[in-house]
């Protein structure tokens, strides 16, 4: 073998080795990111063995109390708490997000006044999930309805479809977000029953706040577990759905409506 052949072979070897190294470097971040993307530590807990729900007793719900709303804002980083500016500084009141709100209803004939918190009702057959073109509006195995903000294109069809006006569109760039609830300009969001807390076997923030205020108007639990407090209470005293006529089988139920 001549010197020049050797030289060529060495060159080829070196070239192949370098190419392999470059290729390796190029795909490694992809593999790592892919693993990160598919890592579902807590979310793996979401199985169809559970169906999470909230039962709200309107007779126990205090008319002037908004602790559940404040707790949701604090937990998820929307709206303004204690006079602090909202994360949505440019949006007007009609444009700012509201994941949960207190609604006052007055019977037109009797004048009877009731107060209740209203949020995403986590329907079994959710219209928002049905209409979403990309599947961004989705229902977890455990019945929690939420938005995958990575594939939401901001078409707002889910907002047109939701019977409960539970959804909000983000009209501006947001800063200072909660790590557990990333929110994004041009996408739609709503109550996700504090799925990050539920995955850690905790109550949603609103339910804890109601208990802390000693009103006890909200019970969170597994509707599929016959022994859970929510199932027991529903069995004993029943619970109504808002717009039951739509047949959506909501995960949030009310007593005293």
């Amino acid at each position: 073998m001549s010197n020049s052949d050797n030289h060529t072979n060495n060159y080829r070897r070196k070239f192949l080795a370098q190419s392999a190294a470059v290729a390796g470097l190029a795909i490694t971040p992809g593999i790592v990111l892919n693993q990160v993307a598919h890592a579902k530590a807590d979310a793996d807990k979401a199985t169809s063995a559970n169906r999470w729900g909230i039962l709200i007793d309107t007779n126990k719900c205090n008319k002037g109390c908004t602790d559940c709303v404040t707790a949701c804002k604090t937990e998820n980083g929307w709206g303004s708490v204690d006079g602090q500016p909202s994360s949505e500084i440019h949006s007007n009141k009609e444009q700012q997000a509201q994941w949960i709100r207190k609604v006052t209803i007055t019977d037109k004939q009797t004048g009877h006044v009731q107060s209740l918190p209203l949020m995403c009702q986590h329907c079994e057959t959710a219209p928002c999930v049905d209409v979403c073109p990309t599947g961004a509006s989705m229902k977890r195995e455990d019945g929690i309805v939420q938005v995958d903000k990575h594939i939401c294109i901001g078409c707002r069809y889910c907002m047109m479809a939701c019977p409960y006006k539970a959804r909000s569109f983000i009209h501006e760039k947001l800063e200072l977000q909660k790590a557990t609830e990333p929110r994004g300009i041009g996408t739609v969001e709503s109550c996700d029953m504090c799925s990050h807390r539920v995955d850690k076997d905790q109550n949603p923030a609103c339910v804890d706040a109601c208990n802390k205020a000693e009103h006890g108007a909200m019970i969170f639990g597994d509707l599929k577990d016959a022994n859970s407090a929510i199932s027991q209470e529903l069995k004993k005293h029943g619970g109504e759905q808002i717009r039951a006529d739509l047949g959506l089988n909501t995960g949030v139920r009310y007593q005293g409506l």
Partner: protein
């Protein structure tokens, strides 16, 4: 009947370039509006969490609906064998494609995340009528594009009947899909009705033909090509039938709702108490968009006047936009019925009529959609042979005798 001779328009006139410049400036304004809205977010628009679809959707849905209607002339010639319409069939496909492109541009640029259009094109939730619409829109471009090709290229002519039939079926599906976007909204009082789908189909006939008629009258006048009474009368009589058809569906829709007590609230809102929506309904949609055009089209004093019919067509377009405004924005302005028989109030505007004031940016984006469509037509008729040299009576009417 002679075989029609198609020829590009000359186009080297000051007026032609002025027209392109005018349309181009509207397109630029629309692009500017889009960047303005996307730069900081939709807070600069009149839209909010109550009125989530605003003025851009009015224009977008109007154009998309009109697109399939503009295909009528081609369909009548290919599918129903009316040879008199054959000379205008290629232009009909061109206007259809241009209107759809304009409408989709507005729709996409108004998305919260238009940069994710690729997501919408690659990930489909097949239970969503919106996802089906994306397939229907893309298919429309493909099928009508092929149909146009079969007409423009002589050795492909033999396939134009098959292509025309496919395009006809597809366009019916497309408008049914667009109407169903509203028809499938179970939660809202103003929608949730099967009549939305056929009503949108007839609306498409009317709006699409009105725009097509305006384009034909303008392009033949501006290029000094003959447009005989035979073709003109056929087109304007057809428009009259379609305008009456839309009126029929609107009456049927409201009568049905007025019969059912649960819909009395929303009917009272649209027909009597809705302020701007009530005015747009009666003055815009019914009087300007339907009754005046019908009077112009059928009254002997105006029926044969090109300028009167042009005004009637413009009124049909304006009435159509008013109708879309009432359907899309009026339908959202009426509050959701969460607790029947109860008064509702909250920090999130429950139980209230929702307010919406469109901004200039939204209007410019919408008008830009129309400008894109017209620009495409104006450009295409200059570079390709879409327009017959003559639409004089002897050229189009097989039974014409001097």
């Amino acid at each position: 009947m002679k075989k029609p001779v198609f020829k590009q328009i000359d186009g080297n006139t000051t007026n032609y370039w002025m027209l392109l410049a005018l349309l181009g400036s509207f397109v630029l304004a629309a692009v500017g509006s889009h960047f303005y809205m996307e730069h900081g977010g939709h807070y600069v628009t009149g839209m909010n969490n109550q009125i989530v679809w605003g003025l851009p959707h009015v224009f977008a849905v109007f154009l998309i609906v009109a697109a399939s209607g503009a295909l009528n002339i081609a369909s009548i010639s290919s599918v129903f064998g009316k040879t008199a319409y054959k000379p205008l069939a290629p232009l009909s496909t061109l206007v259809a494609l241009a209107l759809l492109a304009g409408g989709l541009m507005v729709l996409v640029l108004d998305l919260g995340r238009p940069d994710r259009l690729i997501v919408a094109m690659t990930i489909y939730n097949f239970k969503s009528i919106f996802a089906w619409n994306m397939i229907l829109y893309n298919g429309f471009f493909l099928i009508v594009g092929i149909y146009m090709w079969t007409m423009l290229q002589r050795n492909m002519n033999q396939y134009s009947k098959v292509a025309g039939f496919s395009a006809f079926i597809w366009r019916l599906a497309l408008t049914t899909g667009t109407g169903s976007i509203f028809g499938f909204l179970v939660a809202r009082q103003a929608y949730d009705a099967a009549i939305m789908a056929p009503m949108f189909v007839v609306m498409s006939f009317s709006f699409g033909l009105a725009i097509f008629l305006l384009i034909v009258i303008a392009s033949y006048k501006w290029t000094n090509r003959p447009l005989g009474d035979a073709m003109f009368k056929r087109l304007k009589n057809l428009l009259g039938v379609f305008v009456a058809g839309v009126l029929y569906f609107v009456i049927a829709q409201h009568l049905t709702n007025l019969y059912a007590t649960e819909h009395h609230g929303v009917e009272a809102f649209i027909l009597r108490d809705g302020g701007i929506y009530t005015q747009l309904f009666w003055y815009g949609q019914i009087i300007i968009g339907s009754l005046i055009p019908l009077a112009i089209i059928y009254h002997p004093a105006t029926a044969n006047s090109r300028s009167a019919i042009s005004i009637a067509s413009i009124f049909v377009v304006l009435g159509g936009l008013a109708q879309m405004y009432v359907i899309i924005i009026g339908g959202q302005a009426y509050p959701l019925e969460l607790f029947p028989g109860k008064e509702v109030s909250s920090s999130f505007f429950d139980g209230m009529v929702n307010s919406y004031s469109p901004t200039l940016a939204e209007a410019l984006l919408g008008l830009g959609g129309i400008a894109v469509s017209l620009l495409m037509v104006a450009f295409a008729v200059k570079v390709l042979r879409f327009l017959p040299e003559s639409l004089a009576d002897e050229a189009v009417d097989p039974h014409h005798s001097k």
